[in-house]
């Protein structure tokens, strides 16, 4: 396994507070790292930092891509990498698409820059990509504008844009949220195929634990701006080590087990960015803390050891 991206102790601070506080992970060639976690826990902010896309934030720590340090790299260097070696499928399709250009032009643009292809060849490639992501009648629809596409179709345009420049690192931020299950399966297959052919390192951020179960080799679980657990996918699902992970798994709606009735949620509310809780950030909502009321959980932030940040490893399973 070759490490393509190594992130160490990443911190991202906005005027409103520190959104990412101590994130470390490695992405390997040909492998998929799944990132799951609380809404607002810093998944997108971490990814945008890797891509060098933060403007009004202080980014600290280290991001090494193929041997090159990206924290502090020049904007033009980062732009060059983004166009060719790393790409990201953004969480928010409509505001990442330009309303005045056709979807075909937007896909072709990336390809032209990357492959130095002619306009005509790039347009052909755009049609192929639209077909690959399952847009019916791609040749007719390549000339449509984003507002003429449905939510899920726009999302697939974003995917096509990210894949067309044949990146070595692909960060997919909720790539299939707006997609129905059949198209979702098709997209996941497409990413997998490209990954196998070209050894792409994939980081898959998603709330859909079913998707994670299907594609991820390993999973990092985030809470309150930092990872709380990082382990092989099977282990995270079968024997979660952190009480937050446990709570997350218990909240999943399962139609195959009946359905109906209220869902189980983790009690309490997400931590504040401005005034994060002392000690373990999860302790105000943690069943272990509630049971044992161990003082250490409220006073000391647990270190991240052997893939787990918990003062009571093993108690959650």
């Amino acid at each position: 396994m070759t490490a393509l991206l190594q992130v160490t102790d990443l911190r991202v601070t906005f005027a409103a507070g520190t959104a990412v506080d101590g994130v470390s992970f490695t992405a390997h060639q040909g492998r998929t790292l799944g990132i799951v976690g609380e809404s607002g826990s810093g998944k997108s902010v971490s990814s945008l930092a890797v891509m060098g896309l933060h403007r009004n934030a202080i980014v600290e720590g280290s991001i090494v891509f193929d041997g090159e340090e990206l924290v502090g790299a020049s904007p033009s260097r980062l732009r060059a990498l983004r166009g060719s070696r790393m790409s990201m499928i953004f969480q928010d399709p409509l505001s990442s698409l330009h309303p005045y250009y056709t979807v075909g032009e937007q896909i072709a643009e990336g390809y032209r820059l990357h492959a130095k292809a002619s306009r005509r060849a790039a347009r052909e490639r755009a049609v192929e990509m639209l077909a690959d992501v399952g847009i019916p009648s791609p040749r007719a629809r390549v000339a449509d504008y984003p507002h003429q596409f449905s939510g899920g179709m726009r999302q697939r345009v974003m995917i096509a844009m990210a894949l067309v420049c044949e990146p070595d690192l692909l960060i997919a931020d909720e790539p299939t949220t707006a997609l129905d299950v059949t198209i979702q399966a098709q997209i996941l297959e497409l990413i997998k195929k490209i990954q196998e052919e070209r050894g792409v390192a994939v980081i898959m951020i998603t709330h859909d634990l079913g998707v994670v179960a299907r594609v991820a080799d390993e999973v990092m679980v985030m809470y309150g701006g930092a990872p709380v657990e990082h382990a092989p996918a099977r282990q995270v699902f079968k024997t979660p080590g952190h009480p937050y992970t446990r709570g997350l798994l218990d909240s999943i709606p399962r139609h195959d087990l009946g359905g109906g009735g209220p869902l189980q949620a983790i009690p309490g509310s997400p931590p504040s960015l401005l005034t994060p809780p002392q000690g373990c950030r999860f302790h105000p909502r943690c069943p272990i803390y509630a049971r044992a009321s161990a003082e250490i959980c409220a006073t000391e932030r647990p270190a991240f050891i052997a893939g787990l940040a918990c003062h009571y490893p093993g108690a959650a399973t």
Binding site: V36, G210, A213, K238, H255, G259, P262
Partner: protein, 305 residues
């Protein structure tokens, strides 16, 4: 009692002849939730946008609370706005970038005071620290919850929820689903719940409607439809839901649909699902099936399972 919402033969044809919605009918009673599911691009959002009249239907009728609102003017619709709300699929673009969360939620008519706004923020899992932030300072799931809070601020009777929980982690998703259900019990709210996640729909909805290429192909009681789908498309959908268990996921048998989704500008003749249906016969290529009663629910198929 007459239903709160009645949609009759609703149609939308966009320029270029795209028949995005092609004769959709259903009704929703007070305090009820109807799930609307189906493939990307099948016309769910368009249906929702016609109901709240962000789009003017090209045909059919929308009756809300006893009033035909299909073609009423914006001005005459205004008094109804508070009763009929929508949560939009695309959270960021539906929030005005120049307004703070608090301003967005209380709206131009300042429905809520500061305390009321913060109380509502807390109900959707946010808090006072978020009240004065602008949309770009929120995460995807936070923006989505601001959209939900905005829709609930006017204490509506009906909310069209277009993928309202797709950007949320499962715990917050559970919290929002439970909140929506609680409001329903307390205030008799009704929902049209558009989602591609069939598991969430299972927890939210009393009835489900399955759409394919602008039409409803199956509609009925949620339990009946899930446990024993009659339309082959529904059956494929239900079989493809990913399960959060790597072992089950590996061994699962999924029904993979043949071919590509058709182009809504030139739908296939007969049953529009026929090119992708393993059971298609001659009649399926010639005659469009209509909804009829099949084992306790309505399905549009010549050869229901």
């Amino acid at each position: 009692m007459s239903p709160l919402l009645d949609v009759n033969d609703l149609r939308m044809t966009f320029r270029g002849g795209v028949r995005a919605v092609d004769g959709v009918s259903f009704s929703v009673r007070q305090g009820e939730t109807l799930g609307l599911v189906g493939e990307s691009g099948c016309g769910k959002s368009t249906t929702g946008r016609m109901i709240v009249r962000l789009l003017e239907p090209s045909g059919g009728q929308v009756t809300f609370d006893g009033r035909d609102i299909t073609h009423v003017s914006r001005r005459r619709l205004l008094p109804l706005r508070g009763d009929l709300q929508m949560v939009f699929q695309d959270p960021f673009t539906s929030l005005n970038p120049r307004r703070t969360a608090a301003q967005i939620i209380s709206g131009p008519r300042r429905l809520l005071d500061r305390d009321g706004t913060i109380a509502l923020l807390e109900r959707v899992g946010l808090g006072a620290e978020h009240a004065d932030r602008y949309p770009h300072e929120f995460s995807g799931g936070q923006a989505q919850r601001i959209g939900i809070a905005r829709a609930l601020a006017s204490r509506p009777k009906l909310v069209i929820c277009d993928e309202p929980v797709s950007a949320l982690d499962v715990s917050i998703q559970a919290q929002i689903v439970n909140l929506l259900r609680k409001l329903q019990e307390e205030e008799g709210l009704a929902y049209v719940f558009i989602a591609h996640d069939l598991s969430v729909v299972a927890h939210m909805c009393d009835r489900v409607a399955v759409m394919y290429l602008g039409r409803i192909v199956e509609i009925g009681d949620r339990k009946t439809v899930y446990a024993d789908p009659a339309h082959p498309y529904t059956r494929a959908l239900v079989s493809a839901v990913p399960l959060p268990d790597p072992d089950l996921e590996q061994d699962r048998e999924r029904i993979v649909l043949l071919g590509d989704p058709p182009n809504p500008a030139s739908p296939p003749a007969g049953c529009t699902f026929n090119p992708r249906c393993a059971k298609a016969q001659n009649i399926c290529r010639q005659e469009a099936p209509v909804l009829r009663l099949v084992r306790g629910r309505q399905a549009a198929c010549h050869f229901p399972d």
